[in-house]
Amino acid sequence: MANSTKQTSRILSDLNKVPAIDQVGVTERVARFQTRSIKKESKLEGLKMALSMIDLTTLEGMDTENKVRQLCYKAQHLHDAHADLPTVAAVCVYPSLVAVAKKALSTSAINVASVATSFPGGQSNLDIKIQETQFAVDSGADEVDMVISRGRFHQGEYAYVFDEIAAIKAACGKVRLKVILETGELGSLDKVRVASDIAIKAGADFIKTSTGKISPAATFPVSLVMLEAIRDHFYATGQMVGMKPAGGISTAKQALHYLVMVQETLGRAWLDKHWFRFGASRLANDLLMQLVKQADGRYQSADYFSKD
């Protein structure tokens, strides 16, 4: 116990040295990524990569078993009219629907991700959050997407936020943990960087921007700051941490520029569904439409792409 307190205090003193973020500079840098022009073969490759990195998501109060089954079918059959398409990386649902998704995806390599820890608000106590995480894991979740306690974070209780993430990580066992910072509620890029460092140091396998319930959700500037936190952790330790922008990414063009940003910040190693995900539901069809256009030379009507 004394040992772990000592370790926490060492980590927290490190947090006092969280690098400063200059918002103007970040905005300029991300504008530069978005001037990259991705054409021809490189575009085709990028579109397929993006498709394979999607966490197809439904997180509604009105989610039903049938809705989840439909989504799982879509995940496995993105657009059967087009050959050689990858599948998405995962289907993301509430804990109560994990078992349904798991069964529906049992013959595929697609993971089931579950939100947990009183998603999206995170306003509950640690025991309940641990229990909920265990329920998701016991139901068969391959990945858990937790939310941090933003209230505690704004109260300056960084140690609480850190310990909570560490506890959920312990409850996850071998299941990979994505930590949602809900950057739309953090208020500044400096705070995004602090939250990223807390999550990474507390054991996050992925850091994720948003729940999708708050606007703004994922943005280029926020994502760049998080990627830079991942990069600094890698420089210091050699450990890779994954990144998941979620919410607000709906076009293929945006997705390609996210891939550009990841590659030019962290290198090609991160361009893999093991290290990078898109939390999105609408993105898949736009990627499909662009892929079909690359093959056929013309755009198809949106009605040719299934909506599940």
């Binding site: 200059d22 103007v24 500079g25 022009s37 990069r231 890698f234 290198g267 190693a269 361009l271």
Partner: protein
């Protein structure tokens, strides 16, 4: 410790070529001098080639102006000044300048492509920076034309007369705009000489000026090398010389006009200090280093060519800088993804290579991003030198290429001493999260422009110019207007 873990950018997902199309560009095979509102052949009948530095192919022939042609141009400018331009109400002059600005916006794409073809700079820069900024200068000074009475409260101001303007090859059209816009707004007429390797956009601008209906002789453009410039400087009919270029030529000009009534503004060389403190936003500072020295292949008089990094963060800054350099795309200036284009000319490439050899010989540790450059054309990959001291020539002399000299420092007073320890004083950069430190530094650094947490930012409303051997006089803003006015 941090050096053990390397990111890999070697096997990156490559971007296919995305060249900007050139089909819309209208270029002639031969360009004449622009004198008295007409394109006229040079008296000597001599022409020189302008070359695409990325392919070494000749783009067009350019007229070589002799002292006779310069004389014609100065006389045309004087006539236009006496008869038309100095008598025209400011608000009418303003309309012409606004028209030039708008035409430039309309033709921005064509100008951007020509600028990249002729000068080697990436299309991303000519499209997003050079051309829009040039148009903005005309817009800004057009607004001043009818407000000169209010420019200096309590005093009546008048134009100087005929201005001889000599501009460099690093930002050809933009420098033409910096020179022409304030001169015209203040009521002067102009004889402009572009640099011999990059005359094309100035001559396209001459066509545009013709189209704008600007009274003939108000702007005259004479092309040629140093002798043409000398003829302009020494012409007795010139009231003012505005020169942007090397300190060496600046000194020659100053000697030449000594004892004459000619006024002058000189914007000369630089060897700017870009200073990174340990409390800086490091990732953005690294981007600022790149923008400071690799922007426009380092052909920038205010380039951040001396990097000072506080020792505690030197390792991480250099590691991040190398990783950033690995993602810079060097190649075809017309490709939209190109970050670093071609060196402007064979002779400039030779100069840069000579300095790289000097740096190595002096024992500094050189690093260049791995990867090949095209076979034809003039290329220099982004380069940096570590373990440099103030005593190294690569830290003292202006290289005017993509070559960075890195030194470390410990304290504020040390870095201020070193930053000011240069005959130049054009610009500087300061990177820190602490506002008070920025104000402290900016009051101690002897440089005309100081950027805080950014670098190489330009705006028509902001004055630009040097201390010490970086020249005198300011361009841009109200100060830039003053350089073309006298009190009556």
């Amino acid at each position: 410790m941090s050096k053990e873990h390397h990111l890999d950018f070697k096997n990156n997902w490559g971007y296919d070529p995305a060249p900007e199309s050139t089909g819309h560009v209208q270029l002639k095979k031969q360009y004449e001098l622009f004198i008295g509102g007409r394109f006229v052949k040079p008296e000597s009948g001599k022409y020189f080639n302008t070359v695409n530095p990325a392919s070494e192919e000749t783009i067009a022939k350019i007229a070589q102006a002799s002292s006779k042609d310069v004389d014609k141009a100065v006389k045309a400018a004087r006539k236009a000044y006496d008869n038309v331009w100095s008598k025209m109400p400011g608000k009418e002059r303003g309309k012409y300048i606004f028209r030039i600005a708008r035409l430039l916006q309309e033709k921005a794409r064509e100008f951007a492509v020509i600028e990249s073809l002729d000068g080697g700079k990436p299309i991303r820069e000519s499209r997003d920076i050079d051309i829009p900024l040039a148009a903005n200068h005309f817009f800004y000074y057009a607004g001043w034309a009818d407000k000169l009475e209010y420019a200096v409260p309590g005093r009546k101001m008048a134009p100087l007369g005929v201005a001889g303007q000599i501009i460099p090859w690093n930002f050809p059209l933009l420098m033409a705009a910096w020179k022409l816009a304030p001169a015209l707004a203040a009521g002067n007429t102009v004889v402009l000489k572009p640099a011999e390797t990059t005359s094309l956009t100035a001559l396209k601008l001459a066509e545009l000026i013709q189209e704008s209906g600007l009274p003939e002789g108000v702007v005259n453009i004479v092309t040629g090398a140093g002798e043409t410039g000398a003829a302009l400087v020494n012409h007795p009919g010139i009231d003012k010389i505005a020169f942007t270029g090397s300190t060496e030529v600046g000194k020659i000009i100053q000697r030449a006009i000594a004892g004459t009534p000619k006024q002058a503004t000189l914007e000369l060389g630089g060897k700017a200090a870009n200073i990174i403190f340990d409390d800086a936003p490091i990732d953005q500072a690294v981007e600022g280093i790149v923008n400071g020295i690799y922007f426009n292949q380092g052909h920038v008089c205010c380039a951040g060519s001396r990097l000072f990094v506080q020792e505690g963060v030197a390792d991480i800054v250099i590691q991040k800088l190398k990783d950033r350099m690995a993602t810079l795309i060097v190649g075809d200036p017309l490709d939209k993804n190109t970050d670093v284009g071609a060196i402007n000319s064979a002779s400039q490439l030779a100069t840069i290579q000579e300095y790289i050899a000097i740096g190595k010989e002096e024992g500094a540790e050189m690093y260049q991003t791995p990867g090949s450059v095209p076979q034809k054309g003039y290329w220099c990959p982004p380069t940096l030198f570590m373990n440099v001291s103030q005593s190294h020539r690569i830290a003292q002399e202006e290289i005017f290429g993509p070559v960075l000299a890195i030194q470390t420092f410990r304290t504020i007073s040390e870095v201020v001493d070193k930053a000011n320890n240069t005959p130049y004083g054009l610009s500087a950069g300061v990177w820190t999260d602490k506002g008070s430190k920025i104000f402290n530094l900016s009051s101690q650094l002897r440089a005309g422009v100081i950027w805080a947490n950014t670098y190489n930012k330009f705006d028509p409303t902001s004055p630009f110019g040097g201390y010490k051997e970086s020249g005198f006089g300011r361009e841009g803003g109200w100060h830039g207007l003053q350089a073309y006015l006298k009190t009556v």
